[in-house]
C-alpha cells in the first residue's frame, strides 16, 4: 500500500492560517522525568472531586437482546474508572479530567483504530483517526477546514437540514445531486460535473451513504465505486457522514412467517455490511465521520474522523482553539466500556442492534401496510438507518385543485396538522429539501404532485410505534376521504 496523496490544495484560507500555539509547544517537555513542571496551567488533579465512576452495562453476547436491563445476579459488564489506571485500556480520571490530548485519549483512539481496521481496512498506509464531539461538530470542522466563501459542494437533493445550515453559514454554494430510492445516481452526477467549468468544480461531496436522512436509502457498492472514480476524475473529497452505518438490517419480508430472524455468525454479519467509501479509498480523499450517538447514546457526544494525517492535523489545530477535546467523563466511560467488551463484544452489540432495528422496521412497515390508505401512498422498506419515507400523491386530495390551489405543500401542511391533532408526529418532506432552505437554489424539477413524510421507528417502543402509525394512517384516510 502507498501513503495518502497530497491533497493539501483543498485547504481553506482559514485552515492555512492555523498554526500551532506557541504556548502549547512547550507541552512537549511534559512528563520528562525529574523535570518539575512550573510551566503549564494545569490544575491539581488531586482536587478533582471525582474519585470513581462506576457504570453497569449488559455483558456480551447480550443473549436477551441489547435492550435488556440485567437483573440482580445476572451477568453484567462493570466499568470502574478511578483517578489512576486499573486496566491498561482505561483512561484514568486524573488524565481525562485534565487538560490535554486534543486529538482524543490514546486508549480511545486505539480501540477506534482497531474497529476501523476490522470493518473498513482503508487501502492506504498512513490513515489515522481523530476524536470529535460527534458528527455535527465534525461536519462543521470539515467545512471550516476546506471551504472558502463561494466554494461549491455536492449534496444529495434531500438531506439533513442542520448540515446544510452549517454550510450555508460558511457561504458555501450547493450543487444538489438527483437521487432515487437507492441514493445518488452516479451517471447523473457525472453529467452534472461534465457541464461545469473547472473553476466551478466542487471541493467535496457530502453524503449520508447508509440509512440516509431523510430518505432511508443506502448506496450500494457499485454506486460507491462509480462515485469514487468520479471523485478522482474531477478531484474532490468525499465526506461520508455515517451515523447509521451499523443500523443496516435484513431485507424486509412482507410475510411474517417467512422472516429469518435466526442469529447470524460474526463473519456473516461483517460481510453483509455495505462496504464504505473509506474501504475503497486508495488516495486518502475520503473523510469518514463516525459517531456513537445511534449505537450507544447521543448524549455521549463522542465520535471520530478517519482520514489522512496531513488533513487531520488541520482539524487538530482547529480543535485546539474550539472544542479542545471530547468531554473527559465520556472519554473514560465510553473507552472503559468498549474496551471491557472488546472489539469482539462490541461486534455482538452491533449484531444485537441490527436485530432490534430489523424488528422495529418490520413492525413499522407492517403497520403502514395495514393502516395507511394504499391507493395514495408509496414506500420502500428501508434496509438501513432509523428512517422510512412515505410518499403521498397530493393530487389525490379532494381539495387539491380547489382550496389548495394545486399546491402540494398545502396538502402536506394539512396532513401535518391533522396527524398532529390525532397524536402522531412525522416530519414533512419539504423540511429536508435543499430548495426549501435555499429558495434561490430551487431545483428546476418538473411539477410533481408527490410529497413525502419522514418517519422513524427508532424513538418509541413497539406498541407506541404501531399506535402512532395507526393514528397517522387514520389522519390520511380522513384527509383524503378514503
Amino acid at each position: 500500500m502507498a501513503p495518502a496523496k497530497d491533497l493539501t490544495h483543498f485547504l481553506s484560507e482559514e485552515s492555512k492560517r492555523r498554526q500551532p500555539s506557541p504556548l502549547k509547544t512547550a507541552f512537549k517537555y511534559f512528563g520528562q522525568p525529574d523535570l518539575i513542571f512550573l510551566g503549564g496551567g494545569l490544575p491539581l488533579s488531586d482536587y478533582f472531586p471525582f474519585n470513581k465512576i462506576t457504570v453497569e452495562s449488559p455483558a456480551p453476547p447480550f443473549e436477551n437482546g441489547i435492550g435488556y436491563a440485567p437483573k440482580e445476579g445476572e451477568a453484567i459488564t462493570k466499568t470502574e474508572v478511578l483517578k489512576q489506571k486499573i486496566e491498561d485500556f482505561d483512561v484514568p480520571l486524573s488524565r481525562s479530567l485534565q487538560y490535554g490530548h486534543t486529538g482524543g485519549q490514546p486508549e480511545f483512539l486505539k480501540f477506534v483504530k482497531e474497529h476501523t481496521e476490522l470493518f473498513h481496512k482503508p487501502p492506504y498506509d498512513d490513515w489515522d483517526v481523530l476524536a470529535t464531539v460527534g458528527n455535527t461538530q465534525a461536519w462543521d470542522a470539515v467545512l471550516r477546514t476546506f471551504c472558502n466563501e463561494g466554494d461549491s459542494i455536492l449534496v444529495e437533493q434531500y438531506t439533513f437540514p442542520s448540515s446544510m445550515e452549517a454550510a450555508k453559514s460558511q457561504a458555501v454554494k450547493f450543487i444538489p445531486i438527483p437521487v432515487d430510492a437507492e441514493g445518488i445516481l452516479p451517471e447523473k452526477l457525472d453529467e452534472q460535473l461534465a457541464k461545469l467549468e473547472k473553476s466551478q468544480l466542487p471541493k467535496l461531496l457530502y453524503t449520508i451513504p447508509t440509512g440516509h436522512n431523510p430518505t432511508g436509502s443506502s448506496l450500494n457498492k457499485e454506486r460507491k465505486q462509480a462515485i469514487y472514480k468520479l471523485s478522482q476524475k474531477y478531484d474532490f473529497l468525499i465526506i461520508e457522514d455515517e451515523p447509521y452505518y451499523f443500523l443496516q438490517m435484513e431485507t424486509y419480508t412482507p410475510d411474517a412467517s417467512k422472516r429469518d430472524n435466526a442469529p447470524k455468525g460474526k463473519e456473516e454479519f461483517v460481510n453483509a455490511l455495505e462496504p464504505s467509501f473509506l474501504s475503497m479509498d486508495v488516495d486518502g480523499r475520503v473523510l469518514r465521520l463516525d459517531s456513537l450517538s445511534k449505537v450507544l447514546a447521543p448524549g455521549t457526544r463522542i465520535g471520530w474522523i478517519v482520514g489522512q494525517p496531513a488533513l487531520l492535523m488541520k482539524f487538530f489545530r482547529l480543535h485546539e482553539v474550539s472544542i479542545q477535546n471530547p468531554c473527559g467523563f465520556s472519554s473514560s466511560i465510553v473507552t472503559g466500556l468498549l474496551s471491557r467488551w472488546g472489539n469482539d463484544g462490541y461486534l455482538n452489540w452491533l449484531m444485537g442492534l441490527r436485530a432490534e432495528y430489523t424488528i422495529k422496521r418490520d413492525v413499522a412497515i407492517d403497520a403502514i401496510a395495514a393502516s395507511f390508505p394504499k391507493e395514495i401512498i408509496e414506500y420502500v422498506p428501508p434496509v438501513a438507518g432509523m428512517f422510512f419515507t412515505v410518499f403521498i400523491d397530493a393530487a389525490r386530495h379532494p381539495k387539491f385543485s380547489t382550496e389548495f390551489d394545486s399546491d402540494p405543500l398545502k396538502v402536506e401542511n394539512a396532513i401535518f396538522e391533522s396527524s398532529m391533532k390525532k397524536g402522531a408526529l412525522m416530519i414533512p418532506g419539504s423540511w429536508f429539501e435543499i430548495a426549501h432552505s435555499f429558495p434561490e437554489k430551487a431545483l428546476s424539477n418538473e411539477v410533481d404532485s408527490k410529497i413525502f413524510f419522514r418517519g422513524t421507528y427508532a424513538a418509541v417502543p413497539l406498541d407506541q410505534l404501531k399506535l402512532g402509525l395507526e393514528r397517522f394512517g387514520s389522519a390520511l384516510k380522513e384527509e383524503f376521504g378514503l
Binding site: 512550573l38 455535527t136 442542520s162 447514546a297 448524549g299 477535546n325 465520556s330
Partner: protein, 462 residues
C-alpha cells in the same frame, strides 16, 4: 454622559446574524407538548430508543460521599440517565442552567436584569462562541499585552486582529487605564487604517499570566471608557474562584463569597459585557463544561452557532456536574468544595512565596515577585542590568532552568504581539498547580531561584 443605544443586537457579527436555523425543523422542539389535542407519539425526530443505551447504572464516588444517577426521576434537580444520554437542548439542561443563574446572582449581583446564561463545552469553547458572536473579518480586538495566547486562534480564524494594551506593572493593579485611554484617543495616528476596536478581551481576575486582579474602581473606569467608545467587554474569568488575596484559609461560605473578586458584570448597567465561566478550575478541565453570561438577545445567536458547531454539551458531563452539585447539597455544597480547592491553592501560594522571598536572589534584588491575588500563577520580574538584551537573557534563563531541572514559562511566549513586548519581557510565569505536593513545590521553586542566581553570576563574571 450620554448612554449609547442599549440595543445590543447591533453588535452581532454579520456571520452570526446571517446564521438561521430552519424554524420549521426546530419548531416542534424536544418533546414539547403540542397545543392541539393529545401529545403526539414521536415518529418524527430521530432520537434512539433509550432502552438501547448500554449504560444501565452510573455511580459516582466523590471524595467523601457517593451518589447514584437515577435511570429515571421526577426530581428536577437531577438529570437522569434517560434524559442525559439522549439528544438534548443546545442551551443546556434546565437544572444546570438554573444553577448557573443562581451562581451569577449570588456572587455578582449583575447591574442589569437583561442577562441570561447558556451552557458551553468549556471555557475555550465559550471564548470561541463570544468572538463568533461579535467579530467580523477585519474587526479589531483589544487584548492584554500578555495573555492566554491560544485564544488568538479563534480571532485569526475569523480574520480579525488584535491590538495590545499595557499592564500597570508598577502598581500591579491590572490594565494600565491611562494607556487604554491614550490608545483610543490617538487611534488614527497609532493604528492608521485599522478598524476602531469593537471588543476588549480581558482576564480581569487572577489574570493569566500576571495574577493581577483589576479592582472594582478600575473596572468601573475601564467599563466607562469602553461604553463611551462603544467597545464590548468579554470578561474571561476562570480563576476568580481561586481567590488568594485574603490571608487565611476559609471555612465559611458567605465569607468566601464576599472575598471573591468583583466582575465587570456587577457594573454592567448598559449590557456591554459577556462573561465566560468554566467548571474547569474548580471541578476538572476534562469536564469540558462552562457557561456564558450574556444579554438575553445574545442567547439565541450563540445557540444557533452551537447547533451547527458543537451540537449540545456532553450528556455525561452535564449529568455529573449537575448531579454532583445536587449531591453536595446544592450551591452551598459546591461553594464548600470551591473553598477546599481555593484553600489548597492558597497554602501552595504561601509556601511558594516564602521560598521565593527567602531566596538569596530576592535578597539581592535580582528578582521582584508579583504576589497573585487570584488564580494559579506567581510571576517574577527579573532585574536585568540596564541596557541588557532582554530576549537574549530570557533565553539564557530558559537554558539555566532546564539545567536546574525545572520548566517555567517566559512571558514572551504569552505575548500576542511579540514585537510589542520584546524590550520589556523580563518576566516569567510559575504555576503553583502542577507539583504533586508541597515538598516538590518547594523544591521546584528552589531550583528556579538557583537558576536565577546562576544566571546573574554569569552576568557578573562576564
Amino acid at each position: 454622559m450620554t448612554f449609547p443605544d442599549s440595543n445590543v443586537t447591533n453588535f452581532i457579527s454579520k456571520r452570526a446574524r446571517a446564521r438561521a436555523i430552519d424554524p420549521a425543523f426546530n419548531s416542534v422542539g424536544f418533546g414539547k407538548a403540542h397545543d392541539k389535542g393529545v401529545a403526539p407519539i414521536n415518529l418524527g425526530y430521530g432520537m434512539p430508543d433509550q432502552s438501547f443505551f448500554p449504560i444501565k447504572s452510573l455511580q459516582v464516588n466523590l471524595q467523601d460521599s457517593s451518589f447514584e444517577v437515577p435511570r429515571e426521576t421526577a426530581n428536577r434537580q437531577e438529570i437522569d440517565l434517560k434524559t442525559g444520554l439522549q439528544y438534548a437542548s443546545p442551551y443546556g439542561h434546565p437544572s444546570l442552567l438554573k444553577y448557573t443563574r443562581e451562581i451569577i446572582e449570588r456572587i455578582h449581583s449583575p447591574a442589569n436584569d437583561r442577562w441570561d446564561t447558556v451552557i458551553t463545552a468549556g471555557g475555550a469553547n465559550g471564548i470561541d462562541k463570544c468572538f463568533d458572536l461579535l467579530l467580523d473579518e477585519g474587526d479589531t480586538v483589544l487584548i492584554e499585552e500578555y495573555t492566554f495566547v491560544p485564544i488568538l486562534g479563534s480571532v485569526k480564524n475569523i480574520g480579525a486582529t488584535v491590538v495590545p494594551l499595557k499592564f500597570d506593572f508598577q502598581s500591579q493593579s491590572g490594565l494600565d487605564i491611562e494607556y487604554l485611554a491614550y490608545v483610543l484617543e490617538n487611534w488614527e495616528s497609532l493604528y492608521p487604517g485599522k478598524r476602531f476596536p469593537k471588543v476588549l478581551y480581558t482576564i480581569p481576575n487572577g489574570q493569566n499570566p500576571t495574577g493581577f486582579v483589576t479592582d472594582l474602581k478600575s473596572k468601573q473606569k475601564i467599563y466607562d471608557i469602553c461604553v463611551q467608545n462603544d467597545i464590548f467587554i468579554i470578561e474571561d474569568d476562570p480563576y476568580g474562584y481561586l481567590e488568594l488575596a485574603t490571608d487565611k484559609p476559609f471555612d465559611d461560605v458567605e465569607e468566601y463569597l464576599k472575598s471573591l473578586p468583583t466582575s465587570y458584570l456587577s457594573v454592567d448597567k448598559h449590557s456591554r459585557v459577556l462573561r465566560i465561566e468554566s467548571f474547569s478550575k474548580v471541578f476538572a478541565p476534562g469536564s469540558r463544561l462552562g457557561f456564558i453570561v450574556a444579554h438575553k438577545d445574545f442567547i439565541e445567536p450563540i445557540t444557533n452557532y452551537s447547533v451547527l458547531a458543537t451540537g449540545f454539551p456532553s450528556g455525561p458531563s452535564q449529568i455529573l456536574i449537575n448531579n454532583t452539585i445536587t449531591a453536595l447539597g446544592g450551591l452551598d455544597g459546591w461553594f464548600k468544595w470551591a473553598i477546599k480547592v481555593r484553600n489548597e491553592y492558597w497554602s501552595r501560594k504561601q509556601a511558594a512565596m516564602k521560598q521565593l522571598l527567602q531566596s538569596s536572589c530576592a535578597k539581592k534584588d535580582q528578582l521582584i515577585v508579583f504576589e497573585p491575588k487570584a488564580g494559579m500563577f506567581i510571576s517574577v520580574s527579573l532585574n536585568f542590568p540596564p541596557g541588557s538584551n532582554c530576549l537574549e537573557l530570557m533565553s539564557k534563563l530558559s537554558e539555566k532552568t532546564a539545567q536546574h531541572g525545572v520548566t517555567v514559562v517566559p512571558y514572551q511566549t504569552l505575548s500576542p504581539i511579540p514585537d510589542f513586548t520584546k524590550d520589556n519581557c523580563h518576566y516569567v510565569r510559575l504555576t503553583i498547580a502542577s507539583a504533586i505536593d508541597h515538598g516538590q513545590l518547594k523544591e521546584a521553586f528552589r531550583r528556579f531561584t538557583s537558576a536565577v542566581e546562576d544566571l546573574f553570576q554569569d552576568l557578573e563574571s562576564s
